[in-house]
Amino acid sequence: MASGIFIVPVLVSFGGVGIRTAVAASIVSVIACSCGSAAAFLRAGLTNIRIAIVLETATTLGALTGVFLGGLLPPSVLFLLFAAILLLSARQMLVARQREAAPAAPLEADSADWATVLKLHSSYPEGSLGRPVHYRVHRVPLGLALMYGAGLISALLGIGSGVLKIPAMDTALRLPIKVSSATSNFMIGVTAAASGVAYFALGDINPLVAGPVAIGSVIGALLGARFLMAVSGERLRLFFVVVLLVLAVQMLLEAFGMHLGRRS
C-alpha cells in the first residue's frame, strides 16, 4: 500500500508546510517504507532485478527531470496534478486488478526483441501451484517510456507512484501481477533515491520535517500491515477510496488558493 500519497496532502493542508518541503520529506518516507516491503518481495523470489535495473535507467532520468521541473512549475499546477493522481488511485482501488488470465504469450517471440537480448524472461515460485511459473517479457521500449513518466511524477509529487508503475508493467511488459508488484516496489527505492539525493543537495530536505515523517511512516507501515490483515478487504477498499477522494478535493481547493485545514 502506497502511504506516500497521503503524506504531502496532510503536510500541506494540516502541517502548514510548503509543497516543496513536503514533497522532499515525503520522498524520504517513500524510501523508508519501500525498503521493508522490497526485502520481503525479494525473499519471496518475486522480484525480477534484471527488469528493475533496466527500467531504472528511465525512472531515475524521469526523477531528475521531475526535481528540476518542480522548481519551475507554480504550486497550483502541482496541486492540480496531485488531485489527478489521487483520483486515478481511487479509481484503481475501485476497479481491482483482474488480468491474471493473460492471453498465453507466444513461445517463439522473435529472438531479436529487447527482452530476449537482455535475458529478462524469468520465473517465479507460485505458491498455489507448488512449482515455478515461467513468463516472457514484452515491449521493453514502451515500458521504458512509461517508466520515465512514472519517475517524473514520483519526483514531482513525492510519491512512490506505484499507481503508475504497476499498470505500466501489467500492460506494456505483460508481467504476472505478483512479479509486477514486487518489481515495482523494488524500483521505487532507487527512483526516490535519485530525486531524494538531488533534493538533499539542493537543500530542500528539512530534517525536522523529513525525520519524524519517515519514522512515522515506518511505524505506520508496520502497524498498517497487521491492521490490513484484521479488516475485511471490501470495507477497507471503500475506506481508502473515500480518503483518496477527500484528499483530492483538498488538493483541488489548494490549487485554487483555498485553505481548509489551517488558518492563514
Binding site: V28, H121, S122, A194, Y199, I205, P207
Partner: protein, 99 residues
C-alpha cells in the same frame, strides 16, 4: 541461477538483507536525533545523517548489483547498472551546483 534465465538467488537474498538492516539503522539514527532535539540539544545534524542513510541505501543496492554483475562478467548489465548510478550522481552534482 538454475531455474529460469534471469534469477540471481544469492544476490536477491543479499539485497534483502542490506535493505532490511539498513532501514533499521537509518530509522534508529533518526529516532536518536529526534530524541536529542526534543531534549533541547542542537542535533538536527543527527536526524540529517539518518535521512542521508535512507537516501544512500538504494544507492548502495545499485553499487552491490554493479559489483555482482562485474564479477559475473555480465558487461552489458554492468553498463546498464553504471548508467543508473551515474544518473543519480548527476542529480547530486546538479543539485550542489545550483545552490
Amino acid at each position: 541461477m538454475n531455474e529460469g534465465l534471469g534469477r540471481h538467488h544469492k544476490l536477491e537474498s543479499l539485497l534483502a538483507r542490506v535493505l532490511d538492516q539498513g532501514a533499521w539503522l537509518a530509522s534508529g539514527v533518526i529516532a536518536v536525533g529526534w530524541t536529542m532535539v526534543a531534549g533541547g540539544w542542537r542535533a538536527s545534524w543527527v536526524i540529517n545523517s539518518g535521512v542521508a542513510l535512507f537516501l544512500l541505501l538504494p544507492v548502495l543496492r545499485v553499487v552491490i548489483m554493479l559489483v555482482v554483475f562485474l564479477r559475473e562478467r555480465d558487461y552489458r548489465f554492468s553498463a546498464i547498472t553504471a548508467l543508473v548510478l551515474s544518473i543519480i550522481v548527476l542529480g547530486a552534482l546538479l543539485g550542489i551546483h545550483m545552490t
